[in-house]
Symmetry: C2
Subunit: 223 residues, 2 copies
Amino acid sequence: MASRARHTGRREEALSRDRIVAAAVELLDVAGEGGLSFRALSAQLRTGPGAIYWHVANKDELLAAATDAVLAAALAADPAGETPEHAIRVVALGVFDAIDEHPWVGAQLARLASQSSVLQVFERIGRQVQALGVPAAGQFDAASALLNYVLGVAGQNAANARSQAPGTSRADVLGAESALWASLDPAAYPFIHTVAGQLRDHDDRAQFLAGVDLIVAGMRTVR
Amino acid sequence: MASRARHTGRREEALSRDRIVAAAVELLDVAGEGGLSFRALSAQLRTGPGAIYWHVANKDELLAAATDAVLAAALAADPAGETPEHAIRVVALGVFDAIDEHPWVGAQLARLASQSSVLQVFERIGRQVQALGVPAAGQFDAASALLNYVLGVAGQNAANARSQAPGTSRADVLGAESALWASLDPAAYPFIHTVAGQLRDHDDRAQFLAGVDLIVAGMRTVR
DNA sequence: CCCTACTTTGGAACGCTGTTCCAGTCATGT
DNA sequence: ACATGACTGGAACAGCGTTCCAAAGTAGGG
Protein backbone atom coordinates (compact mmCIF):
# COMPACT_ATOMS: atom_id res chain seq x y z
CA MET A 1 0.00 0.00 0.00
CA ALA A 2 2.69 2.41 1.05
CA SER A 3 4.78 1.37 -1.89
CA ARG A 4 1.84 1.79 -4.22
CA ALA A 5 1.25 5.27 -2.88
CA ARG A 6 4.83 6.20 -3.60
CA HIS A 7 4.83 5.32 -7.29
CA THR A 8 2.47 4.07 -9.91
CA GLY A 9 5.33 2.29 -11.62
CA ARG A 10 7.67 -0.14 -9.99
CA ARG A 11 10.86 1.86 -9.71
CA GLU A 12 11.96 5.42 -9.42
CA GLU A 13 12.24 5.56 -13.20
CA ALA A 14 10.52 2.51 -14.57
CA LEU A 15 11.24 1.60 -18.17
CA SER A 16 8.31 2.01 -20.51
CA ARG A 17 7.72 2.01 -24.21
CA ASP A 18 7.11 5.74 -24.19
CA ARG A 19 10.29 6.50 -22.31
CA ILE A 20 12.26 4.29 -24.69
CA VAL A 21 10.77 5.92 -27.78
CA ALA A 22 11.43 9.39 -26.39
CA ALA A 23 15.05 8.50 -25.67
CA ALA A 24 15.38 7.05 -29.17
CA VAL A 25 14.08 10.27 -30.72
CA GLU A 26 16.54 12.28 -28.67
CA LEU A 27 19.40 10.02 -29.64
CA LEU A 28 18.47 10.20 -33.32
CA ASP A 29 18.21 13.98 -33.18
CA VAL A 30 21.59 14.36 -31.52
CA ALA A 31 23.62 11.63 -33.17
CA GLY A 32 21.83 11.14 -36.49
CA GLU A 33 20.52 8.00 -38.13
CA GLY A 34 23.55 5.95 -37.26
CA GLY A 35 23.53 7.11 -33.67
CA LEU A 36 20.71 4.88 -32.58
CA SER A 37 21.91 1.54 -31.27
CA PHE A 38 20.53 -0.62 -28.52
CA ARG A 39 23.76 -0.19 -26.64
CA ALA A 40 23.76 3.60 -26.84
CA LEU A 41 20.07 3.61 -26.01
CA SER A 42 20.47 1.35 -23.00
CA ALA A 43 23.37 3.49 -21.81
CA GLN A 44 21.21 6.60 -21.96
CA LEU A 45 18.41 4.82 -20.13
CA ARG A 46 20.90 3.32 -17.70
CA THR A 47 19.86 -0.25 -18.29
CA GLY A 48 20.90 -3.18 -20.46
CA PRO A 49 20.01 -3.96 -24.06
CA GLY A 50 17.93 -6.92 -22.99
CA ALA A 51 15.53 -4.81 -20.94
CA ILE A 52 14.56 -2.76 -23.98
CA TYR A 53 13.44 -5.86 -25.80
CA TRP A 54 10.81 -6.42 -23.16
CA HIS A 55 9.01 -3.28 -24.37
CA VAL A 56 9.97 -3.16 -28.05
CA ALA A 57 10.08 -6.08 -30.48
CA ASN A 58 13.08 -4.96 -32.56
CA LYS A 59 14.84 -1.99 -34.04
CA ASP A 60 12.46 -1.60 -36.97
CA GLU A 61 9.53 -1.29 -34.61
CA LEU A 62 11.45 1.19 -32.52
CA LEU A 63 12.25 3.33 -35.55
CA ALA A 64 8.64 3.17 -36.68
CA ALA A 65 7.44 4.24 -33.26
CA ALA A 66 9.94 7.10 -33.14
CA THR A 67 8.85 8.26 -36.59
CA ASP A 68 5.21 8.06 -35.62
CA ALA A 69 5.86 10.04 -32.47
CA VAL A 70 7.49 12.89 -34.36
CA LEU A 71 5.00 12.91 -37.18
CA ALA A 72 1.99 12.69 -34.91
CA ALA A 73 3.20 15.76 -33.06
CA ALA A 74 3.72 17.57 -36.35
CA LEU A 75 0.20 16.72 -37.50
CA ALA A 76 -1.46 17.51 -34.20
CA ALA A 77 -2.90 20.79 -35.39
CA ASP A 78 -5.58 20.46 -38.06
CA PRO A 79 -7.00 23.86 -38.90
CA ALA A 80 -8.60 22.63 -42.12
CA GLY A 81 -10.46 25.83 -42.71
CA GLU A 82 -9.67 27.81 -45.84
CA THR A 83 -9.46 26.34 -49.32
CA PRO A 84 -8.41 22.78 -50.18
CA GLU A 85 -5.26 24.20 -51.77
CA HIS A 86 -4.36 25.84 -48.48
CA ALA A 87 -5.16 22.77 -46.43
CA ILE A 88 -2.93 20.66 -48.65
CA ARG A 89 -0.11 23.14 -48.21
CA VAL A 90 -0.53 23.01 -44.45
CA VAL A 91 -0.28 19.25 -44.16
CA ALA A 92 2.56 19.03 -46.69
CA LEU A 93 4.53 21.73 -44.94
CA GLY A 94 3.86 20.06 -41.62
CA VAL A 95 5.59 16.94 -42.88
CA PHE A 96 8.35 18.93 -44.54
CA ASP A 97 9.15 20.96 -41.46
CA ALA A 98 9.12 17.90 -39.24
CA ILE A 99 11.67 16.27 -41.53
CA ASP A 100 13.70 19.42 -41.69
CA GLU A 101 13.97 19.33 -37.91
CA HIS A 102 14.51 15.56 -37.70
CA PRO A 103 16.20 14.45 -40.93
CA TRP A 104 16.19 10.79 -39.88
CA VAL A 105 12.40 10.87 -40.17
CA GLY A 106 12.78 11.49 -43.87
CA ALA A 107 14.90 8.42 -44.32
CA GLN A 108 12.44 6.37 -42.33
CA LEU A 109 9.43 7.57 -44.29
CA ALA A 110 11.16 6.76 -47.55
CA ARG A 111 11.75 3.18 -46.51
CA LEU A 112 8.72 2.15 -44.51
CA ALA A 113 5.45 2.18 -46.36
CA SER A 114 2.07 2.11 -44.71
CA GLN A 115 3.22 3.29 -41.35
CA SER A 116 0.33 4.54 -39.27
CA SER A 117 1.40 8.16 -39.36
CA VAL A 118 1.74 7.98 -43.14
CA LEU A 119 -1.82 6.77 -43.29
CA GLN A 120 -2.78 9.88 -41.38
CA VAL A 121 -1.05 12.06 -43.96
CA PHE A 122 -2.66 10.13 -46.78
CA GLU A 123 -6.06 10.62 -45.24
CA ARG A 124 -5.62 14.36 -44.89
CA ILE A 125 -4.39 14.68 -48.45
CA GLY A 126 -7.21 12.52 -49.74
CA ARG A 127 -9.89 14.61 -48.10
CA GLN A 128 -8.59 17.73 -49.76
CA VAL A 129 -8.33 15.94 -53.09
CA GLN A 130 -12.01 15.20 -52.75
CA ALA A 131 -12.71 18.79 -51.77
CA LEU A 132 -10.83 19.95 -54.86
CA GLY A 133 -13.40 18.18 -56.96
CA VAL A 134 -11.25 15.44 -58.42
CA PRO A 135 -13.65 12.79 -59.75
CA ALA A 136 -13.98 9.68 -57.61
CA ALA A 137 -12.19 7.46 -60.10
CA GLY A 138 -9.08 9.63 -59.96
CA GLN A 139 -8.91 10.42 -56.26
CA PHE A 140 -6.81 7.45 -55.27
CA ASP A 141 -4.25 8.11 -57.98
CA ALA A 142 -4.15 11.84 -57.28
CA ALA A 143 -3.71 11.50 -53.54
CA SER A 144 -1.08 8.79 -54.05
CA ALA A 145 0.84 11.02 -56.43
CA LEU A 146 1.00 13.84 -53.96
CA LEU A 147 1.92 11.51 -51.10
CA ASN A 148 4.69 9.91 -53.14
CA TYR A 149 6.02 13.34 -54.02
CA VAL A 150 6.12 14.30 -50.35
CA LEU A 151 7.82 11.04 -49.43
CA GLY A 152 10.30 11.49 -52.26
CA VAL A 153 11.29 14.92 -51.05
CA ALA A 154 11.52 13.49 -47.56
CA GLY A 155 14.01 10.89 -48.66
CA GLN A 156 16.13 13.33 -50.61
CA ASN A 157 16.20 15.81 -47.76
CA ALA A 158 17.38 13.07 -45.45
CA ALA A 159 20.05 12.07 -47.96
CA ASN A 160 21.24 15.64 -48.24
CA ALA A 161 21.39 16.01 -44.49
CA ARG A 162 23.35 12.76 -44.28
CA SER A 163 25.90 13.73 -46.91
CA GLN A 164 26.47 17.07 -45.28
CA ALA A 165 29.55 16.75 -43.08
CA PRO A 166 29.12 18.21 -39.60
CA GLY A 167 31.31 21.21 -40.27
CA THR A 168 30.16 22.31 -43.71
CA SER A 169 27.34 24.78 -44.17
CA ARG A 170 24.43 24.46 -46.53
CA ALA A 171 25.87 27.18 -48.74
CA ASP A 172 29.11 25.23 -49.11
CA VAL A 173 27.35 22.04 -50.10
CA LEU A 174 25.09 23.82 -52.55
CA GLY A 175 27.96 25.81 -53.95
CA ALA A 176 30.04 22.70 -54.53
CA GLU A 177 27.19 20.83 -56.18
CA SER A 178 26.31 23.85 -58.28
CA ALA A 179 29.91 24.15 -59.42
CA LEU A 180 29.85 20.48 -60.34
CA TRP A 181 26.73 20.98 -62.43
CA ALA A 182 28.23 24.00 -64.12
CA SER A 183 31.36 22.02 -64.98
CA LEU A 184 29.40 19.31 -66.79
CA ASP A 185 29.64 19.17 -70.56
CA PRO A 186 26.94 21.57 -71.85
CA ALA A 187 26.48 19.38 -74.90
CA ALA A 188 25.71 16.26 -72.84
CA TYR A 189 23.88 18.01 -70.00
CA PRO A 190 22.29 21.16 -71.47
CA PHE A 191 19.47 21.34 -68.96
CA ILE A 192 21.51 20.75 -65.83
CA HIS A 193 24.02 23.26 -67.12
CA THR A 194 21.38 25.96 -67.42
CA VAL A 195 19.88 25.37 -63.95
CA ALA A 196 23.21 25.07 -62.13
CA GLY A 197 22.93 28.70 -61.06
CA GLN A 198 19.41 28.24 -59.70
CA LEU A 199 20.60 25.33 -57.58
CA ARG A 200 23.02 27.53 -55.69
CA ASP A 201 20.43 30.00 -54.47
CA HIS A 202 17.27 27.95 -54.30
CA ASP A 203 15.23 27.48 -51.14
CA ASP A 204 14.32 23.85 -50.40
CA ARG A 205 11.10 24.74 -48.68
CA ALA A 206 9.95 27.08 -51.45
CA GLN A 207 10.83 24.50 -54.06
CA PHE A 208 8.95 21.84 -52.16
CA LEU A 209 5.91 24.08 -52.06
CA ALA A 210 6.24 24.81 -55.77
CA GLY A 211 6.08 21.08 -56.40
CA VAL A 212 2.97 20.75 -54.26
CA ASP A 213 1.36 23.60 -56.13
CA LEU A 214 2.29 22.02 -59.45
CA ILE A 215 0.62 18.75 -58.53
CA VAL A 216 -2.44 20.55 -57.20
CA ALA A 217 -2.59 22.49 -60.47
CA GLY A 218 -2.57 19.15 -62.25
CA MET A 219 -5.46 17.96 -60.10
CA ARG A 220 -7.50 21.00 -60.99
CA THR A 221 -7.25 20.12 -64.66
CA VAL A 222 -9.01 16.81 -64.13
CA ARG A 223 -11.95 17.97 -62.08
CA MET B 1 54.65 -10.69 -74.60
CA ALA B 2 53.31 -14.20 -74.63
CA SER B 3 51.63 -13.69 -71.27
CA ARG B 4 50.14 -10.42 -72.44
CA ALA B 5 48.73 -12.19 -75.44
CA ARG B 6 47.14 -14.72 -73.16
CA HIS B 7 45.30 -12.29 -70.92
CA THR B 8 44.93 -8.60 -70.53
CA GLY B 9 44.52 -9.10 -66.79
CA ARG B 10 46.81 -10.92 -64.47
CA ARG B 11 44.98 -14.10 -63.67
CA GLU B 12 42.53 -16.42 -65.25
CA GLU B 13 39.75 -14.43 -63.64
CA ALA B 14 41.30 -11.23 -62.43
CA LEU B 15 39.31 -9.17 -59.98
CA SER B 16 38.12 -5.87 -61.37
CA ARG B 17 35.71 -3.18 -60.37
CA ASP B 18 33.33 -4.22 -63.11
CA ARG B 19 33.36 -7.85 -62.08
CA ILE B 20 32.77 -6.86 -58.46
CA VAL B 21 29.88 -4.59 -59.34
CA ALA B 22 28.31 -7.24 -61.54
CA ALA B 23 28.57 -9.79 -58.75
CA ALA B 24 27.06 -7.29 -56.32
CA VAL B 25 24.10 -6.71 -58.63
CA GLU B 26 23.57 -10.44 -58.94
CA LEU B 27 23.76 -10.91 -55.19
CA LEU B 28 21.32 -8.08 -54.56
CA ASP B 29 18.89 -9.46 -57.13
CA VAL B 30 18.99 -12.95 -55.66
CA ALA B 31 19.21 -12.24 -51.94
CA GLY B 32 17.69 -8.78 -51.65
CA GLU B 33 18.99 -5.65 -49.99
CA GLY B 34 20.29 -7.45 -46.94
CA GLY B 35 21.98 -10.12 -49.01
CA LEU B 36 24.93 -8.01 -50.01
CA SER B 37 27.83 -8.34 -47.60
CA PHE B 38 31.54 -8.25 -48.27
CA ARG B 39 31.80 -11.80 -47.05
CA ALA B 40 29.05 -13.13 -49.30
CA LEU B 41 30.49 -11.12 -52.16
CA SER B 42 34.02 -12.39 -51.62
CA ALA B 43 32.72 -15.94 -51.39
CA GLN B 44 30.96 -15.57 -54.74
CA LEU B 45 34.10 -14.09 -56.27
CA ARG B 46 36.22 -16.72 -54.55
CA THR B 47 38.50 -14.25 -52.84
CA GLY B 48 38.76 -12.49 -49.48
CA PRO B 49 37.03 -9.34 -48.27
CA GLY B 50 40.30 -7.43 -48.31
CA ALA B 51 40.81 -7.87 -52.03
CA ILE B 52 37.54 -6.13 -52.80
CA TYR B 53 38.66 -3.04 -50.98
CA TRP B 54 41.48 -2.61 -53.44
CA HIS B 55 38.91 -1.88 -56.15
CA VAL B 56 36.08 -0.31 -54.17
CA ALA B 57 36.37 2.25 -51.39
CA ASN B 58 33.50 1.03 -49.23
CA LYS B 59 30.01 -0.40 -49.28
CA ASP B 60 28.29 2.88 -50.07
CA GLU B 61 30.39 3.30 -53.17
CA LEU B 62 29.69 -0.28 -54.16
CA LEU B 63 25.95 0.21 -53.79
CA ALA B 64 26.13 3.44 -55.75
CA ALA B 65 28.04 1.73 -58.52
CA ALA B 66 25.59 -1.16 -58.61
CA THR B 67 22.67 1.26 -58.79
CA ASP B 68 24.33 3.24 -61.55
CA ALA B 69 25.01 0.07 -63.50
CA VAL B 70 21.37 -0.99 -63.43
CA LEU B 71 20.01 2.46 -64.12
CA ALA B 72 22.45 3.18 -66.90
CA ALA B 73 21.34 0.01 -68.64
CA ALA B 74 17.70 0.99 -68.18
CA LEU B 75 18.33 4.43 -69.65
CA ALA B 76 20.50 3.21 -72.52
CA ALA B 77 17.81 3.66 -75.14
CA ASP B 78 16.85 7.27 -75.75
CA PRO B 79 14.29 7.46 -78.56
CA ALA B 80 13.31 11.01 -77.68
CA GLY B 81 11.14 11.45 -80.74
CA GLU B 82 7.44 12.07 -80.25
CA THR B 83 5.99 14.64 -77.89
CA PRO B 84 7.56 15.85 -74.63
CA GLU B 85 4.76 14.12 -72.75
CA HIS B 86 5.67 10.85 -74.38
CA ALA B 87 9.38 11.31 -73.79
CA ILE B 88 8.75 11.96 -70.10
CA ARG B 89 6.69 8.81 -69.86
CA VAL B 90 9.45 6.82 -71.47
CA VAL B 91 12.15 7.92 -69.07
CA ALA B 92 9.88 7.64 -66.03
CA LEU B 93 8.76 4.16 -67.00
CA GLY B 94 12.36 3.21 -67.66
CA VAL B 95 13.20 4.01 -64.06
CA PHE B 96 10.03 2.39 -62.77
CA ASP B 97 10.58 -0.86 -64.63
CA ALA B 98 14.22 -1.03 -63.56
CA ILE B 99 13.14 -0.72 -59.94
CA ASP B 100 10.39 -3.23 -60.44
CA GLU B 101 12.99 -5.71 -61.60
CA HIS B 102 15.59 -4.75 -58.98
CA PRO B 103 13.72 -3.47 -55.91
CA TRP B 104 16.93 -2.68 -54.05
CA VAL B 105 17.59 0.04 -56.63
CA GLY B 106 14.52 1.84 -55.35
CA ALA B 107 15.80 1.86 -51.81
CA GLN B 108 19.15 3.08 -52.98
CA LEU B 109 17.70 5.90 -55.07
CA ALA B 110 15.60 7.04 -52.15
CA ARG B 111 18.62 7.36 -49.92
CA LEU B 112 21.45 8.60 -52.10
CA ALA B 113 20.91 11.96 -53.74
CA SER B 114 22.95 13.32 -56.62
CA GLN B 115 24.15 9.96 -57.80
CA SER B 116 25.44 10.16 -61.33
CA SER B 117 22.64 8.09 -62.82
CA VAL B 118 20.08 10.27 -61.08
CA LEU B 119 21.65 13.28 -62.73
CA GLN B 120 21.05 11.53 -66.02
CA VAL B 121 17.38 11.10 -65.20
CA PHE B 122 17.14 14.69 -64.07
CA GLU B 123 18.70 15.88 -67.32
CA ARG B 124 16.26 13.92 -69.44
CA ILE B 125 13.30 15.16 -67.47
CA GLY B 126 14.57 18.71 -67.60
CA ARG B 127 14.91 18.73 -71.35
CA GLN B 128 11.32 17.66 -71.77
CA VAL B 129 10.19 20.22 -69.24
CA GLN B 130 11.81 22.84 -71.46
CA ALA B 131 10.21 21.31 -74.53
CA LEU B 132 6.84 21.50 -72.79
CA GLY B 133 7.20 25.24 -72.70
CA VAL B 134 7.55 25.74 -68.96
CA PRO B 135 9.03 29.22 -68.46
CA ALA B 136 12.72 29.31 -67.57
CA ALA B 137 12.10 30.48 -64.01
CA GLY B 138 9.96 27.44 -63.28
CA GLN B 139 11.91 24.73 -65.04
CA PHE B 140 14.11 23.82 -62.10
CA ASP B 141 11.18 23.50 -59.74
CA ALA B 142 9.09 21.55 -62.25
CA ALA B 143 11.81 19.07 -63.12
CA SER B 144 12.67 18.63 -59.44
CA ALA B 145 9.05 17.95 -58.61
CA LEU B 146 8.80 15.20 -61.18
CA LEU B 147 12.13 13.70 -60.16
CA ASN B 148 11.15 13.70 -56.50
CA TYR B 149 7.88 12.01 -57.38
CA VAL B 150 9.73 9.29 -59.28
CA LEU B 151 12.18 8.81 -56.42
CA GLY B 152 9.33 8.72 -53.93
CA VAL B 153 7.59 5.95 -55.82
CA ALA B 154 10.93 4.19 -56.08
CA GLY B 155 11.34 4.17 -52.32
CA GLN B 156 7.81 2.99 -51.67
CA ASN B 157 8.07 0.21 -54.21
CA ALA B 158 11.25 -0.95 -52.55
CA ALA B 159 9.58 -0.82 -49.16
CA ASN B 160 6.65 -2.87 -50.44
CA ALA B 161 8.96 -5.43 -51.97
CA ARG B 162 10.86 -5.64 -48.69
CA SER B 163 7.79 -6.13 -46.54
CA GLN B 164 6.47 -8.83 -48.83
CA ALA B 165 7.47 -12.16 -47.32
CA PRO B 166 8.96 -14.60 -49.85
CA GLY B 167 5.93 -16.83 -49.91
CA THR B 168 3.09 -14.34 -50.13
CA SER B 169 1.77 -13.08 -53.41
CA ARG B 170 1.06 -9.51 -54.36
CA ALA B 171 -2.66 -10.16 -54.24
CA ASP B 172 -2.38 -11.39 -50.66
CA VAL B 173 -0.47 -8.33 -49.51
CA LEU B 174 -2.82 -5.95 -51.26
CA GLY B 175 -5.84 -7.81 -50.00
CA ALA B 176 -4.62 -7.68 -46.41
CA GLU B 177 -3.81 -3.99 -46.59
CA SER B 178 -7.10 -3.27 -48.30
CA ALA B 179 -8.96 -5.12 -45.58
CA LEU B 180 -7.09 -3.11 -42.98
CA TRP B 181 -8.12 0.12 -44.66
CA ALA B 182 -11.70 -1.01 -44.88
CA SER B 183 -11.69 -1.85 -41.18
CA LEU B 184 -10.65 1.66 -40.17
CA ASP B 185 -13.19 3.90 -38.53
CA PRO B 186 -15.07 5.61 -41.40
CA ALA B 187 -15.56 8.66 -39.21
CA ALA B 188 -11.85 9.10 -38.56
CA TYR B 189 -10.65 7.92 -41.97
CA PRO B 190 -13.42 8.70 -44.47
CA PHE B 191 -11.13 9.01 -47.48
CA ILE B 192 -9.05 5.90 -46.86
CA HIS B 193 -12.25 4.02 -46.22
CA THR B 194 -13.66 4.97 -49.59
CA VAL B 195 -10.52 4.06 -51.57
CA ALA B 196 -9.85 0.77 -49.76
CA GLY B 197 -11.50 -1.08 -52.60
CA GLN B 198 -9.42 0.63 -55.25
CA LEU B 199 -6.26 -0.36 -53.42
CA ARG B 200 -7.02 -4.02 -53.83
CA ASP B 201 -7.24 -3.99 -57.60
CA HIS B 202 -4.99 -1.14 -58.57
CA ASP B 203 -1.99 -1.52 -60.87
CA ASP B 204 1.20 0.02 -59.51
CA ARG B 205 2.57 0.82 -62.92
CA ALA B 206 -0.65 2.42 -64.14
CA GLN B 207 -0.93 4.44 -60.96
CA PHE B 208 2.65 5.57 -61.31
CA LEU B 209 1.92 6.72 -64.84
CA ALA B 210 -1.21 8.52 -63.69
CA GLY B 211 0.93 10.47 -61.25
CA VAL B 212 3.38 11.38 -63.98
CA ASP B 213 0.54 12.56 -66.18
CA LEU B 214 -0.89 14.58 -63.31
CA ILE B 215 2.37 16.40 -62.78
CA VAL B 216 2.80 16.98 -66.50
CA ALA B 217 -0.73 18.37 -66.59
CA GLY B 218 0.29 20.76 -63.85
CA MET B 219 3.29 21.83 -65.89
CA ARG B 220 1.10 22.62 -68.87
CA THR B 221 -0.91 25.05 -66.78
CA VAL B 222 2.16 27.21 -66.16
CA ARG B 223 3.48 27.48 -69.65
C1' DC C 1 4.27 -11.38 7.54
C1' DC C 2 6.01 -14.57 4.50
C1' DC C 3 5.84 -17.33 0.63
C1' DT C 4 4.81 -17.93 -4.07
C1' DA C 5 3.92 -16.52 -8.85
C1' DC C 6 4.77 -13.22 -12.18
C1' DT C 7 6.74 -9.29 -14.37
C1' DT C 8 10.73 -6.80 -15.38
C1' DT C 9 15.60 -6.08 -15.45
C1' DG C 10 20.45 -5.92 -17.20
C1' DG C 11 24.62 -8.08 -18.36
C1' DA C 12 26.87 -11.83 -20.93
C1' DA C 13 27.13 -14.17 -25.12
C1' DC C 14 26.26 -15.32 -30.26
C1' DG C 15 26.73 -14.59 -34.95
C1' DC C 16 27.05 -11.23 -38.06
C1' DT C 17 28.64 -6.84 -40.15
C1' DG C 18 32.01 -3.19 -42.50
C1' DT C 19 36.58 -2.25 -42.39
C1' DT C 20 41.74 -2.48 -41.63
C1' DC C 21 46.01 -4.67 -41.73
C1' DC C 22 49.65 -7.13 -43.71
C1' DA C 23 52.38 -11.03 -45.17
C1' DG C 24 52.59 -13.11 -49.30
C1' DT C 25 51.87 -13.78 -54.53
C1' DC C 26 52.04 -12.40 -59.19
C1' DA C 27 53.37 -9.81 -63.55
C1' DT C 28 56.26 -6.86 -65.29
C1' DG C 29 60.40 -3.43 -66.67
C1' DT C 30 65.23 -3.41 -66.47
C1' DA D 1 67.36 -12.67 -62.78
C1' DC D 2 65.96 -9.56 -59.93
C1' DA D 3 63.57 -5.71 -57.85
C1' DT D 4 59.37 -3.16 -57.79
C1' DG D 5 54.78 -2.14 -57.44
C1' DA D 6 50.10 -4.00 -58.19
C1' DC D 7 47.18 -7.10 -56.28
C1' DT D 8 45.38 -10.83 -53.28
C1' DG D 9 43.05 -13.08 -49.38
C1' DG D 10 42.80 -14.43 -44.71
C1' DA D 11 43.08 -12.91 -39.90
C1' DA D 12 41.68 -9.61 -36.66
C1' DC D 13 38.93 -5.55 -34.60
C1' DA D 14 35.19 -3.03 -33.06
C1' DG D 15 30.57 -2.63 -33.30
C1' DC D 16 25.93 -4.15 -34.43
C1' DG D 17 20.98 -6.49 -33.51
C1' DT D 18 19.34 -10.01 -31.00
C1' DT D 19 18.77 -13.91 -27.55
C1' DC D 20 19.25 -15.93 -23.22
C1' DC D 21 18.84 -16.31 -18.43
C1' DA D 22 19.86 -15.67 -13.57
C1' DA D 23 18.73 -12.20 -10.49
C1' DA D 24 15.76 -8.49 -8.69
C1' DG D 25 11.51 -6.40 -7.85
C1' DT D 26 6.39 -6.43 -6.99
C1' DA D 27 1.85 -8.13 -5.88
C1' DG D 28 -1.58 -11.16 -3.94
C1' DG D 29 -3.15 -15.21 -0.86
C1' DG D 30 -2.65 -17.96 3.29
